[in-house]
Point group: C2
Chain length 458, copies 2
Amino acid sequence: MSSAAIEFAHQNQARFLEELKSLLRIPSISTLPEHKGDVRRAAEFLADDLRRIGMEHVEVIETEGHPLVYADWLHAGGKPTCLAYGHYDVQPADPLDEWKTPPFEPSERDGNIYARGAVDDKGQMYMHLKALEALLKTSGGKLPLNVRVIIEGEEEVGGEQIAKFVKEHPERLKSDFALVSDTELFAPELPTLCVGLRGMIYTEIEVRGAMIDLHSGIYGGAAPNPFVALCQIIAALKDADGHIQIPGFYDKVKSPSADELKAWRTLPFDEEHYRKSEVGSPSLVGEPGYSVIERTWARPTLDVHGMPGGFIGAGAKTVIPAKATAKVSMRLVPEMTAEDTFAKYKAFVESLKPAGVTVDVRLIHQGEAMVIPTDNHYIDAATHALKEIWGKDTVFIRSGGSIPIVGDFDRYLKIPSVMMGFGLPDDNLHAPNEKFHLANYYRGIDSIIRFFEEVGAA
Amino acid sequence: MSSAAIEFAHQNQARFLEELKSLLRIPSISTLPEHKGDVRRAAEFLADDLRRIGMEHVEVIETEGHPLVYADWLHAGGKPTCLAYGHYDVQPADPLDEWKTPPFEPSERDGNIYARGAVDDKGQMYMHLKALEALLKTSGGKLPLNVRVIIEGEEEVGGEQIAKFVKEHPERLKSDFALVSDTELFAPELPTLCVGLRGMIYTEIEVRGAMIDLHSGIYGGAAPNPFVALCQIIAALKDADGHIQIPGFYDKVKSPSADELKAWRTLPFDEEHYRKSEVGSPSLVGEPGYSVIERTWARPTLDVHGMPGGFIGAGAKTVIPAKATAKVSMRLVPEMTAEDTFAKYKAFVESLKPAGVTVDVRLIHQGEAMVIPTDNHYIDAATHALKEIWGKDTVFIRSGGSIPIVGDFDRYLKIPSVMMGFGLPDDNLHAPNEKFHLANYYRGIDSIIRFFEEVGAA
């Protein structure tokens, strides 16, 4: 099954890695205003690369936020058009002191490349470009199918600009299917397609007590403490089993099909290994009666990410802070909607307001849950390509994470997405020491080359 | 009643203010390691001033932490010896953006001097030095009584070094009474002596879940969330009325005497004004059945000061943090003890541990509650002096704050303390825009001069 393009990819692995390292050195953290210039730099880097490899109509598209990068090659008459999607922005790197090597100085160790964004999503998105390069360079500048590339810079902050672009300019992205590589293999060596995503609402609860910070000796006992009030609210959101207490929260939850649940039970999953090696907590938590896979793929959740405010330095400061905030997100499953869930959550939080404080509940961003149909030519082509490269049958999984753009592709472009990702469960995405297994980077490129060839051959 | 010393103090008010400003410019924040040099600079500033005004045996005493400043003048044969105590360290200044003028650039507005430490305690402690200067300069270098000055640099972080010094070297501080100016007037123009202090334990609760930060999409629903767990613990520490739920917490609380409660009811206190102008919250909180004065002076409390950990930047980061910490303090009243209360608190917090996490409870610092006897010569001299300067009878109050050294003076030096302070309830101590009313700075100096003269005249 070896093609000229795959030969080319194999011969250029060292260069493909060096180029990825250059991209990883750019700290394109979309949520931090001080990195705005770096985010743009990452966009320009990709536009330059797309031009160099022979893509056409390369453009850095300005938005109200971070720019989009677009390119296309549309000369494969009669062949399907792929919309290759990825994101070039990354999560913040804190806590910095837990990184073994600096997050923006890519470092190779034990067959992995370590850096913020290595797997999420620079490394995975860049596989698309390298697959396209291999195909273009070995076919006289031609591709076996039509391709549009769209890469965003706001995925980690909610993807507002690409959502707007997809909604307002569907004709500019007109395609037959999307290829999204921002997911992972269920286990090492096990080719995997993701066919379901959770949605999300990311919120802030701000509690205000006194008008200024007060001395806890002088005012303690009479002045409201916003952290205590906020803790009372948060504690009331879940019971001891992790069951969410928001009235009506579970009303619209659609359970996976019996077939899907049956297939999940055959996946190679060792709960004790997962607890010990991936999570590392004394025990796992969550709703009784659901397996870990169901809890993380098919059940909604609520998590607190941080509680800014007050005194967080070393030592002691005896202050009753004027305000306290909690960053709280919920993951949603089909058929929950972000709008309905946020309304129920906001009403419940407001109803929990303790005496002496005011409460403000804000929506920061949102994305809808998604289940992808598997009975189409593109999923078939993907499973054939993966079988050739990995020598194994593909497993269909869901992800507990959220890729809201997949819902927008469905809604506004009316196209299915193929979520073919090559991360590993222990790649530390969103955490210190994020990595990408180099063998998966190279085999991912091969897989995408073969997938494009399969789609084009039909 | 005008004495030569008071004349001198009046003529030198402008200079006394300029000197105080120089001291306020030194950011001697004892809890922040990066200000260690500034803390020492403040100590040296005071030692220089003590030498200049004519005090003897001036010494910057090294400790394992920040230094102590000592001086004495012991030539008033047969007269009592005063131990004049104060502290030259200050609280952190954050949140910086809420200061109208920078915390370490003293600024005069509306008859006040604004700066971190203006009232707590640089301005008040410095009144002692200026009173001594006025007496020494107008009496041929003599004082009407014997004086030892001891000034510490760790009051805001628990006062460990001075506590150690008092315990290990009581002979070096041998005195008949202490003068402590670190409290406030009950109301403007109302001379006040503080005769009771709450004690304190300052603690941290650290909750750990996963071994590393995890992606809340991938792991949400199965991985423990340490912030949720911590909120569940904190919410269980108090009921909706603010009553603390730690078993046995109130067992040893000694109520104020009927006479004391009766006197408190005659104090000019407008609860609605206090709520609106000092606290500024929608309502006050606290235990039903107790007045605000009782709740803040004579009842124990529990407050949360901040909850470090996780993501606290702007925007969104979808992380399940590996750990979360809460800074929690309790104010204690007679006859509670720090040791007993911490043991009960620790046991209760540990008993509340939710599934999936570990909990570590740490004591950061502590101080005992204190009630001062009022039937002695020094309290009499103080009320006489205050009557002369302020034209009104003194009120006896307690403070909800903690000055652990007063307990150590009682325990190890066997001397009573006169807590004569001149702050105002709205001086914003421990908060942005801390201030000291200049009229109170000047009248405080006069009051201390007159107090020293009264004690020496007996």
